[in-house]
């Protein structure tokens, strides 16, 4: 029978639409600007102090929406966005040092929606602002790390050439190796200088105190530092924007600093952990009993500080050689990280494990941390914060090499699934070329002016309205179908983007509206085809059927080609390109669903298997 759908199709469409509705609904409840008040210990303030804050806010004409207690803290929800900073300043003035006042975006999603873990999209830096982190790249560490890598390579070179050396020492900008004789040193100097042209070489001492000192030229130092900042920029970009829909901003500031701005001001602790994490891995062999002491290092296990192991100082590979990493669970349900190495890493790993079957290999977890210590000048009483960087190294696994390892393998020994997920993310996004430290953390207002935002939103609404009117005028009853489909399309698009945790920016909104403008294309194709078939003399039911059927190949071909572009842009592109590709792909899929299935369902319900005299199209 023509133009009838089986019941299950109607039900399927209904289910998809209901799910879409649930997950898009939270966007109707935008988060409230709020200030969070607690005393210095993080407990709730007493009512009297709170009343004083409330009075002060009222006096300054700041409208309070609600005051509620949450986790022992008071949350004062405000009516207007613009008041938030003022309100915080006022509350700080009233309470003085006894309390801490912080900005917050209080979620307003009703609890029954939260039960579906539905949450709204974050508003972007341009519309709402967010947090601003200023990070300092540790330039000295960048140099030391480079020197250590070079030292390790030099030791291998010397061992390969059977030249005896005694000790390697890494200083701030230089590297020195002690030799047993001047001849050894001179041969070594010749060999090393061939492979490492960036150093300035000088020979010191004689005989048993022979020493080769290699220092970095100023130009090389600059290059290394520049590289470190740029590498860190790339890594941070990858970290904060895995899916490409978070719309963060990462940029270099001054010679050695990096700014990271993230939209929204919720859960800065988690954001900080990911941004600032400096975790990396090193794969090393366990030392043999006969290995000389100067080639070994002792390390403790992370989850059991009483256990230690003697490891070789030389590193097989570091996390830098990881090309992809994911987290999962092993057969026993313990968290694990699956690792794929790049070409060079795979070769190095294979070479090292092939000749060492039966020995133990260790996975060392390295993290750069820093501790702030406040020092008070005894004379002036001025406080200065001194940051002391330190490195934490711990073994996460020590396992026997059963066979030669290749490009892909897995590591276990992690504490929790969260840790496995974070480690996988860090390995995937690349490690930091040098440790970074937080210098400043502030909230930042929207980068667009209020007027700009208003105009942008207005234009988007009018654009959408024009499309709706156009469809109504041109296709009458079918225009109504198309407009309902359009509304559902918008709902689904918003639902999927909310589920992905996408961030909404003004250009993003314009992009969505444009996708909708293009999404009516599928319906236009179908409706024009129905008109055409009617003119060609088909009966009404046949014309509807033929219209949908003949337009189908055009629609599918056109959308699949565009979808192909979007998928490729997503897999290769970065940052904003990726975000656009995500929106485009979702838009194509939802618009195909609504334009083909949903309008057809409505048409079938209205006209299917009934005598119809005239089609209002």
């Amino acid at each position: 029978m023509l133009n009838r759908y089986p019941l299950w199709k109607y039900l399927l469409i209904l289910v998809i639409l209901v799910v879409g509705l649930i997950y898009s609904l939270p966007n109707l409840f935008p988060a409230d600007p709020a200030i969070q008040v607690s005393n210095a210990q993080g407990d709730a303030l007493d009512e009297r102090q709170l009343t004083r804050v409330e009075e002060a806010l009222n006096e300054n004409g700041i409208e309070i929406k609600a005051i509620e207690q949450e986790n022992g803290q008071w949350l004062i929800r405000l009516q207007n966005n613009d008041d938030q900073l003022n309100a915080r300043d006022i509350a700080t003035d009233v309470l003085g040092n006894q309390a801490s006042v912080a900005l917050n975006l209080a979620e307003a999603t009703p609890s029954w929606l939260q039960a579906f873990s539905a949450s709204p999209m974050t508003l972007g830096l341009d519309l709402r602002g967010g947090v601003h982190f200023l990070l300092e790249v540790d330039m000295d560490a960048a140099l030391t790390q480079r020197l250590e890598v070079n030292a390790s390579a030099m030791r291998e070179l010397l061992r390969g050439e059977r030249i005896r050396y005694r000790n390697t020492e890494v200083a701030e900008r230089s590297l020195s190796i002690d030799f047993a004789s001047a001849e050894d040193r001179d041969t070594a100097r010749r060999l090393i200088s061939r492979d490492f042209p960036d150093f300035d070489y000088s020979s010191e001492g004689d005989g048993r105190t022979s020493r080769l000192v290699m220092s970095l030229s100023d130009q090389t130092v600059n290059e290394i530092q520049d590289y470190a900042v740029n590498q860190n920029l790339t890594t941070l970009r990858n970290r904060v924007d895995e899916l490409g829909v978070a719309e963060p901003m990462v940029q270099r500031q001054g010679p050695s600093q990096i700014v990271v701005e993230l939209p929204g001001i919720q859960d800065t602790v988690a954001a900080k952990r990911i941004v600032g994490a400096t975790a990396n891995l090193e794969f090393r062999l366990e030392a043999r009993n006969d290995t000389p002491d100067m080639e070994t290092e002792q390390h403790t296990f992370r989850n059991d500080p009483s256990r230690t192991a003697e490891l070789m100082r030389d590193v097989i590979i570091t996390g830098d050689s990881v090309s992809s990493a994911s987290h999962s669970f092993d057969e026993n349900g313990r968290p694990q990280v699956n690792i794929n190495l790049d070409g060079t890493g795979g070769t190095l790993m294979n070479r090292a494990t092939r000749t060492n079957i039966g020995r133990n290999m260790a996975v060392l977890f390295i993290e750069h941390k820093s501790e702030d210590r406040v020092e008070i000048d005894p004379e002036t009483g001025a406080e200065t914060v001194i940051r002391e960087p330190y490195v934490e190294r711990g073994l996460i696994s020590l396992a026997t090499i059963q066979s030669a390892l290749g490009n892909s393998f897995r590591i276990t020994g992690l504490d929790s699934p969260t840790e496995a997920a974070e480690l996988a993310l860090l390995l995937r996004s690349g490690s930091l070329a040098a440790p970074i430290y937080f210098v400043q953390e502030r909230t930042i207002g929207p980068s667009l002016g209020a007027e700009n935002i208003e105009r942008g939103l207005l234009s988007v609404q009018i654009g959408l309205l024009l499309v709706v009117i156009f469809m109504l005028v041109r296709y009458k009853v079918f225009g109504i179908f198309a407009n309902i489909a359009l509304a559902l399309n918008l709902t689904l698009l918003i639902a999927v983007m909310s589920m992905l945790g996408a961030t909404l920016t003004l250009p993003g909104i314009a992009g969505i509206v444009l996708t909708l403008g293009m999404a009516v294309d599928a319906n236009v194709l179908i409706f024009e085809r129905i008109r055409e078939e009617l003119r060609n003399g088909l009966s009404i039911q046949q014309a509807i059927h033929a219209g949908y059927e003949r337009a189908f190949t055009s629609i599918v071909d056109a959308n699949i080609t565009t979808l192909l572009v979007a998928v490729i842009l997503f897999s290769i592109g970065t940052g904003p390109v990726k975000g656009f590709a995500v929106t485009l792909s979702i838009g194509i899929l939802t618009s195909m669903f609504t334009a083909l299935l949903v309008t057809r369902a409505m048409v079938n319900l209205t006209y299917g298997s009934k005598p119809v005299k005239k089609l209002w199209i």
């Binding site: 930042i444 002016g449 209020a450 942008g456 003004l506 490729i568 390109v577």
Partner: protein
């Protein structure tokens, strides 16, 4: 609007004129891109960051307007931590004087302003993004060509590729020619143009393929005319709705989405033109014949049976 569908416009008869127009636009665009270059925005070039402290909370819009009227480009003004601290980003090559210049301007308004710091900020878009996006485009184009060649025929793939390049080059060319601000939003618009242009091209191709199969005549230009006339009302309706949206964005949307709308408006106009005269008309010099489509006929018939 009904008479539109009975129109018999001889599109192919004027194809040589269209080729000349396209060639001229392409030459101007490529020339502009090469010699004038794009006027890249703050997102791509980086600039200067100035942090200032006011004694009383200022109006951000006023600061923005003041700086823009004093000749600074691409100004972004945000509160920073407190309502009295303001962070200003400018697309201005960093030199130590910029900070004082800005502060003096702001002081001239009678506010008490102190400079906290002025520093250079790098581009928001790294070189990595630039290189990878370029590579991404190439791969995307290659795969789309393969798909079109598989679904239609390789001559169609060549036509689609030329149409796509034509549209993108002209949009970028207009931005270079008029030195419009090219930022990340415009980049997104260009990606949308690619999607739009492909969509248009494939719809026209689909109809050409269908007409070739059903028509009894062998005169390709006439078949193309028939196919393009048949899709004309759809083409105009779709570009019409899209342009309605874009005009609303352009006229009412403010600075932020102005360039986004311009890029897409040009893209939609050029894309509609190219779906007829580049992707369609190019098939004639490529000597597309009915035989080119016969081998795939069986496969498509099979697919149609699966339709809902």
């Amino acid at each position: 609007m009904k008479p539109l569908s009975h129109l018999r416009i001889d599109f192919m008869g004027r194809r040589n004129l269209a080729f000349v127009v396209s060639a001229a636009m392409l030459i101007v665009s490529i020339g502009a891109i090469l010699f004038q270059q794009l006027n890249l925005g703050l997102d791509f070039t980086g600039g200067t960051l100035v942090e200032v402290r006011y004694s009383v909370a200022p109006s951000l819009d006023a600061i923005r307007q003041l700086l823009e009227s004093s000749g600074f480009q691409d100004v972004s003004v945000q509160t920073f931590g407190a309502s009295t601290e303001v962070l200003i980003r400018l697309q201005q090559a960093f030199d130590p004087e910029v900070g004082n210049e800005v502060v003096n301007l702001l002081r001239a308004e009678g506010d008490s302003v102190t400079l906290v710091r002025a520093e250079f900020v790098g581009a928001q878009v790294g070189e990595q993004l630039r290189d990878q996006s370029g590579l991404g485009m190439m791969v995307a184009l290659g795969i789309v060509m393969l798909y079109v060649a598989f679904r239609f025929q390789y001559k169609f793939a060549i036509g689609a590729l030329f149409a796509l390049l034509h549209d993108v080059i002209i949009v970028v060319g207009v931005f270079a020619l008029f030195q419009l601000d090219f930022n990340l939003t415009v980049l997104a618009a260009i990606l949308a143009v690619i999607g739009y242009s492909l969509n248009d091209t494939i719809v026209v191709y689909d109809r050409i393929r269908e007409t070739i199969r059903t028509s009894r005549i062998d005169d390709m230009p006439q078949i193309f005319n028939e196919a393009i006339n048949a899709t004309l009302s759809r083409t105009l309706a779709t570009s019409g709705t899209t342009m309605l949206v874009l005009l609303a964005l352009l006229l009412l949307g403010g600075d932020m989405i102005e360039n986004f709308a311009i890029a897409l408006l040009i893209g939609v106009v050029v894309g509609t033109f190219s779906s007829i005269y580049i992707s369609g008309a190019l098939l004639i010099p490529l000597k597309l014949s009915r035989e080119d489509l016969i081998p795939t006929k069986k496969e498509v018939d099979e697919e149609e049976e699966e339709l809902p």
